[in-house]
Amino acid sequence: MSGNCDNDTNIFAPMLVEIVDAKMVTATEKHFTLKLANGDRFDYQPGQIVEAGRFGYGEIPLGLSSSPTNGNTFDVVVRKIGKVSSALVDLDAGDRMTIRGPYGNGFPVDELKGKDILIVAGGIGLCPVRSMIQYILHHRDAFGKFTLFFGARTPSDLLFEEDLEAWRCTDCMHYLETVDTPDDAWDGNVGVITTLFPKADEIGPDTRVIICGPPVMYKFVIAELDKLGISRSNVFVDLERRMKCGIGKCGHCQINDKYVCLDGPVFRFSEIEALEEAI
């Protein structure tokens, strides 16, 4: 049925992708490794989004959760929570899904190079920033001191267990984690993500910061960064909204006059802090 020339000019025409690998990583989240069905390389910037879909169910916006330096495959994580995400989570290796994109503005990689980096990720906010974490680790010498804070509700909500295991041991980054509610086996930090600030090595005022997490998290983290003397123009927030079309038309992701899918999802905080609906 494909092959109609209009597919090239229809912005809603998706690309078919093959699922190379798929595994449940928590009770509700599935980690997919994908490649374009036509064999082409999928090029994007860390922090950009795609509209992932399944015919007959629909599309949802997802942050890409692997670095574009990973080769021909790329990762997304889907949380089973609504109609479309449940239909995607039902898919397995060998099945196909669709994507459109990449869309939006990712992290300003060139601006971040040479600087100390702090990434603050809450819950599945880790998924989109993993694209940047991997990018930094793949170009480790290009960046200064690298600190990562990750907070989850419970130990069973910790995503990317293999990554976390590696990050806990590596000298390439300073990794700190916390959970809101521990279980019997947990001997790490307990508390909201801002409780990690006093535990971190010094975070200098010239550090570049990336934040991604649940909506409630941003203002508390930014208050901590203010105390550290970090300029709000050096803080990048990766925002979630209902990015239904991904192309700045459908209106659902508007924050005042911005479209998160086009102008974001990564925003320099100083550029949106005056927008009343941003955080």
């Binding site: 049925m1 494909s2 092959g3 109609n4 209009d6 597919n7 000019t9 229809n10 912005i11 809603f12 025409a13 998706p14 078919l16 509700t28 015919f55 007959g56 169910y57 629909g58 599309e59 949380r79 929570i81 609504g82 995400s85 819950g123 509700r153 649940p214 909506p215 979630e240 909204r241 209902r242 239904k244 079309c245 192309i247 700045g248 038309k249 459908c250 209106g251 659902h252 508007q254 924050i255 005042n256 006059d257 086009l262 009343e276 609906e277």
Partner: protein, 340 residues
């Protein structure tokens, strides 16, 4: 620019000639109101209409529009424009279409809209009767008319036809047009000026004042106060010529395939900005006052940079569509202008 004249009795043969070439969408009476509809006969045409229930954007951006069809083999695009004539569009509605053109071209080009737009010849027509809530004489009145191909102005005995494009010029040979006299052209100018001046409702501020003062009123209690009776139904969105938001949905058919389509959506509805979350949904505009304000902000200020003025044409459709009678931009904006 050329001006021609078409007598009253030559209108119907001209419309019949248009209909013999392609479908003609035009205002027709529907009980007590008017709608843009494909003409079945030329004498259905009602160029004396006051306003239509829905704006003419339906011709390019239908309430429900297929985007792709899919089956087990793959998918195909549904972009399949049909040559057509959109006849009898009032000047302010022409401005609304020009604004929609900007939205659909901006940054990411949406050919699902633009292909229909390009396949359509637009013939505008002057306002002969005012809708009771119209205020186009004080909203974007100075904005030049662009995007249409021909414009018909009613004067005594017939219509002055202004030709604006090659597509418009090609229509001249389909009717018994003569060259318009200077008197006829002057009469047409006077008629269009009078239509602007005689709007039943008026805004008390310039576009610049509206932009600045509405934006400055973001934290004003006025939104809470005015939206108290809002049903969050989205009727104001649905009848608006410059609203272009949509939802995208999938649907199966009985043969194992299906379609992905978009349908008009409304930012006044509660679920518009809602996202799924682990502890229940997260709604980025939870309160109806926030949603009500968002619509006015978009119309009055947010889109100014893209459009060079407010995203409102003063048609008054929202004022008439609102069950609770709280959507009238003249009431709302004048109140803000008075208070600031």
């Amino acid at each position: 620019m050329q001006n021609h004249f078409l007598s009253d009795q030559d209108l119907t043969p001209f419309v019949e000639a248009l209909m013999s070439r392609s479908p003609v969408i035009a205002p027709v009476a529907k009980r007590t109101r008017f709608v843009f509809e494909r003409l079945a006969t030329a004498d259905e045409l009602r160029l004396d209409y006051d306003t239509t229930v829905l704006p003419p954007k339906t011709v390019f951006f239908p309430t429900k529009q297929d985007l792709i069809h899919f089956d087990n083999e793959g998918f195909r695009s549904c972009i399949n424009p049909e040559e057509q004539v959109l006849l009898g569009v009032h000047p302010h509605d022409i401005k609304g279409i020009a604004m929609s053109d900007v939205f659909y071209k901006d940054r990411q080009v949406d050919n699902n809209y633009l292909a229909n737009r390009r396949a359509t010849t637009i013939v505008g027509s002057s306002v002969q009767n005012h809708y009771k809530h119209a205020f186009f004489g004080s909203m974007n009145a100075d904005r030049p008319l662009t995007g249409h191909d021909m414009f018909l102005t009613k004067i005594d005995g017939g219509y002055v036809a202004e030709v604006l494009t090659d597509k418009g010029a090609a229509l001249i040979e389909l009717g018994n047009f003569s060259e318009a006299t200077d008197e006829q052209i002057a009469a047409a100018d006077a008629a269009n000026r009078a239509a602007n001046e005689n709007c039943p409702e008026k805004l008390n501020g310039t576009a610049e004042a509206i932009r600045e003062k509405v934006r400055a009123a973001f934290d004003s209690p006025v939104w809470e106060e005015l939206s108290r009776d809002c049903f969050s139904c989205g009727s104001c969105n649905i009848v608006c010529p410059t609203c272009y938001c949509f939802d995208v949905q999938d649907e199966w058919n009985l043969e194992g395939g299906g379609k992905r389509f978009r349908l008009w959506d409304a930012c006044l509805t509660r679920e518009f900005s809602e996202v799924a979350g682990p502890g229940g949904s997260e709604n980025f505009r939870e309160d109806r006052a926030e949603r009500y304000r968002h619509r006015f902000m978009r119309k009055a200020t947010y889109l100014n940079d893209q459009l060079g003025g407010p995203a409102c044409i003063g048609c008054g459709r929202c004022s008439g569509a609102c069950t609770a009678d709280i959507a009238n931009p003249v009431t709302v904006i004048n109140k803000i202008l008075e208070q600031s």
